[in-house]
């Protein structure tokens, strides 16, 4: 594979080939600056240079635990227990009215649902905060596209 021509070098970023002038390609910072308009995160990208191989620009991964994707994956997938309990109670009371015979049991269940619902809301808010505070980032493009 030809990696250089007269005054130009091959640079690969996310599988795509770019021919850049030596004046830029040979300087790490100039190379980063050239690619930053494509993706802001490339301002701190790693530059890999190997003899006989094209120059590769590697995006540094974000800090562990705060990436938006991780926050989304970690977010609970079930319905908020308070909303669930609210629906269940409304259904029950629609059919039975105020269920005073089981008042104590309902009180205990509602209390539990309030506690669980509050914790759930806090977890969702935490994920939302992480999402809104993160910097925009381009998605990765599979090689060949």
């Amino acid at each position: 594979m030809t990696t250089s021509t007269t005054n130009k070098r091959l640079v690969i970023y996310e599988g795509q080939q770019h021919w850049l002038p030596d004046a830029i390609a040979l300087d790490d910072q100039l190379l980063r600056d050239a690619f930053t308009p494509l993706c802001a995160e490339l301002a701190n990208a790693e530059i890999e240079r190997k003899e006989g191989e094209p120059i590769r620009i590697i995006k540094k991964p974000g800090r562990k635990g705060i990436s938006p994707l991780e926050s989304l994956i970690a977010a609970p997938e079930e319905v908020n227990p308070a909303v669930q309990m609210c629906y269940q109670l409304r259904q029950h009371q629609l059919m039975n009215g105020i269920d005073w015979r089981n008042a104590e049991q309902w009180a205990a269940q509602i209390e539990e649902a309030i506690a669980a619902g509050t914790t759930f809301t806090q977890a969702v808010n935490h994920s939302l905060k992480a999402l809104t505070s993160c910097k925009p980032a381009s998605s990765s493009i599979p090689e060949g596209f």
Partner: protein, 283 residues
Amino acid sequence: MSLVPSTPAEAIYSLRQCQLTITPLKALDYLEVQLNTYQLLALYQHFFSSEWSTSQTSLYLPVNHEGNSKTVSSENCHSPRELEFITLVYTHLFPMSFWAVESAQEERLQAIPITSMGVDWQIEEGIENLRMGWKLLLPLSKEGRYWLDDVEPEGGEWFDSEFETHHVSYKHIHHPDRIDNKRLRRLCCELTTPLQFLPLALKLLDHETENLWLDESPDEMNYGLYASSLPWSKSSINLLHRKWKQASRILDAAYLLIEWLETDMKTHAQLLLQLWTRALKRT
């Protein structure tokens, strides 16, 4: 068993259950109201089972609440049955302030209000409104002495003007720091007059009875309402009831002393001050 609404109130209640609640915040608001309802109904059945079984009052809010545009959310009001329970509580178990009872008619009591039932002399105009017997005890209590010496300008002069006719002078009353409290208690135990309750009465003035009905002092924010609160639960009600019985005994004893002092202030004040002097620390 399913509800066939037999009254408009029940029908409206059923219709209200058809509302869709999607947001967690609204769900939590709804659950808070339902929790309060079921807590009160469960406690009513537990503490007043015979009254419950004969009660005819409605579990549902009356219909006229719906038409009242001034009512922001009728669900935030107690039903007649819940109000009946609250009445039974303050009639049979422990007191609630007039303001707490009044506000229960308008909005839910989310927790049990604890009204200060002690001697609240530190509130505005509190000293002026005290009975003469309590006024006489002020320089003997730690808090009262501090108030008269350091907080209230010319506190001593005020005291002297109050007791001028009874020949009691502020400067002749020993500071409570000079009193041997153990000795005072022993001397009081030997007495048969209501003077034996002096240590108890001083604890009331100092808010040191270790009884939550007597030591709470309403702060400015809650003035007129209640000093603090406890959640609606069996254990809270049992505790408040037990503590109120104890508080009543303390208050009865202290007021025996106050009335005794007031029946013959001149003579009894002298007996009080003699006892006080006998309890001085020995150097």
